[in-house]
Amino acid sequence: MATKSAHHGDNYINFEKGLWSWLTTVDHKRIGLMYMATVMFFFLIGGIMALLLRLELFAPNAAANVGNVLKNGDVYNQVLTYHGAIMVFMVIVPGIPAILGNFFLPLHIGAKDVAFPKINLASWYCFMAGAALAIATFFFKKIDTGWTFYTPYSIRTGTATVLMVLGAFVMGMSSVLTGLNFIVTVHKLRAPGMTMHRMPLFVWALYSTAILQLLATPVLAITLLLLAAEKLFGVGIFDPALGGDPVLFQHFFWFYSHPAVYIMIIPAMGVVSELITTFSKKVIFGYTAIAYSSLGIAAVSFFVWGHHMFVSGQSATAGIIFSFLTMLVGVPTAIKMFNWVATLYKGSVSFDSPMLFALGFLFLFAIGGVTGIMLAVLPIDVHFHDTYFVVAHFHYVMVGGTLMALMGGFYYWFPKMFGKMFNESIARLSFVFIFIGFNVTFFPQFILGAMGMPRRYFDYIPAYENLNKISTIGSWLILTGFLMGLWVIVQGLRNGPKAPLNPWGSKTLEWQTASPPPHDNFAVEPIVTAGPYEYR
């Protein structure tokens, strides 16, 4: 190895050259960028499908207009399924941990790499293989089950379900490997002086997420395998015709997939913690409360899956218990919210583009969270179940929460990742479009849901037309915003000016090394003597 270093570059990007060096790299930073490229690609595909769905719903099918693009309900169901599956399994679940987590977790704790670099690379290949399997079904026999693959429909419809769930299984493997890697890295590879209570809150969030990934994903894995077995061999476990129980599938599925929504949101909360404190130039309020509330959310998330089955015929007692437990998640979440707001209070707040996204997160996530509590209330859920109210709620959490944080984190760390600055004014404009567009798209859906418009339908009665029109127009604003964001990134990469070492004046460890960081992250191993947010 030593012989090579003579002609090695001074950072991880020019350390080795050529496509092959990227495909075989074990550097966590390069793997983070590989995830970035692929996740952005899937986001584009999932986004196009979202736009098609909204276009279809622009007006009722009876009217002659720009709608009616998807021909019939079958095509609509297929596009709906791929939109959901791609956005969940290939964008939001891997999003922040795999891109920003991979890149910054070792930098944050002063490590040279994650604990298992080869497994890290393997997890990217698992992700790609799983995604390839899932997307292959699109050309083979399109899936129309929705991303939840509910039985018994999923065992009766076309054969490609098997391929799709195997794809999800393999992507789950990737998620487990990433989580495992992060846990061991946090436990074993912290730099001298980096105690658990000196870790940045983003690391705490990733750590909690990793625990969830490790404990929840195997249950999804077996559920999907059993679904495939049901389909291929008719084993009878989920098939009511053979004595099985389709609701058992829902129990198994949500035992993973409910914690999974916290796999999506906890990393976002971690990013927001970093942004709020950095751009308020103030010690974060309630460090330990925020750190442990991540673990609290992770713990409670395992006991709330039944709220997806309030109307499935489970007992009233079960419904009441799940309702109570679901509301309990609000406690650690509110702890975070109040701590962020308390950090802003009397801080020297600067409204740089990452901060705008963080504040956008606070606003949108508050709406998403509060409507979540509404849906946790048993009688309200019976009324709102499977209406657009639910659609609006989870988009506020997943898009308004996770994607806002991903964008904010991405702008925040862009200078560190590439050593270049981006166009700040266009970045701010991209926020404005995404934020306004998002509200225009999804807020009317709360009202539509309250009016009774069911989700997953491809047509509706004329009474819902105006709000649907507004919603569809909002989707075009979001598109504009994300295209601007893409332009900001590409322009910044191509000819952004050289970034200063620490453009935002942050105190965390990753800003102490060069931008972009060298292959081994730090020229000399850092020795940590203070907490991560020693502002004032």
Binding site: A111, D113, N181, K188, P218, V235, L242, G243
Partner: protein, 223 residues
């Protein structure tokens, strides 16, 4: 990776500490923690199917009893002994490597692989016998031909094939991993200073063994 390792005094390759670890201890601790965490996921995966088993056993106790009676507990028992013995030889091989007794360790590993093969052979005979009788899973079970008392006996076989099939797959993976260890042992990669992969695969093998120890009574005896 091992190309730049140097040879130690007693002819073994020195442990190679990957560049991002400070020392061999840190690497060992990390690796071991990683393996145990992975085992947690394995246990949870089988845990879910055991939950399914428990639920349906509760709903259809008679049907599960009928199913359990049709299994050959003797074959299952022999397999249990075979697997426990293989766990023993696997554990022995780690101990032997720690004492630098490479040849004996290789023998122990080969015995473990052999036990795995015996297990799979017995499984093969069990499966083919079941197929011969028409005892297929779920909807493929011909209730009339088999003469089943319970109309959905197929579900019992659904559980039987899913649980033992997934377990058998793990046995095959374990055999593959131990073969890889065997090759590396003969090559002299492992010695008293470095045995982490042997221990890791050993833990995997023990867990696979342990899962069978749950499956055997649940499927063959309970009921």
């Amino acid at each position: 990776m091992s190309t730049d390792s140097t040879t130690t005094a007693n002819g073994f390759r020195a442990a190679h500490v990957s560049h991002h670890f400070k020392d061999a201890t840190q690497e060992y601790d990390s690796g071991k923690q990683g393996i145990w965490l992975f085992m947690v996921t394995e246990i949870l995966m089988f845990g879910a199917i055991l939950v399914g088993y428990a639920i349906f056993h509760h709903i259809y106790p008679d049907m599960f009893e009928e199913g359990a009676k049709s299994l050959d507990w003797k074959m299952g028992f022999i397999n249990t002994l075979v697997l426990i013995f293989s766990s023993f030889t696997m554990a022995i091989s780690i101990s032997l490597i720690q004492q630098n007794k490479t040849k004996q360790a290789a023998m122990a590993m080969a015995t473990t692989i052999l036990c795995g093969a015996v297990f799979m052979c017995i499984k093969y005979f069990e499966y083919s016998h079941k197929f011969h009788l028409g005892l297929y899973p779920g909807r493929f079970l011909d209730v009339a031909k088999v003469g089943a008392e319970h109309a959905n006996l197929g579900m019992y076989y659904g559980f039987y094939y899913c649980m033992t099939g997934l377990h058998g797959l793990h046995v095959l993976i374990g055999m593959g991993l131990i073969t890889w260890l065997l090759i590396r042992t003969i090559r002299g990669d492992f010695h008293s200073q470095y045995w982490l992969p042997v221990e890791g695969v050993g833990i995997f093998w023990h867990i696979v063994d342990l899962i069978w120890i749950f499956l055997f009574p649940l499927l063959y005896l309970v009921g």
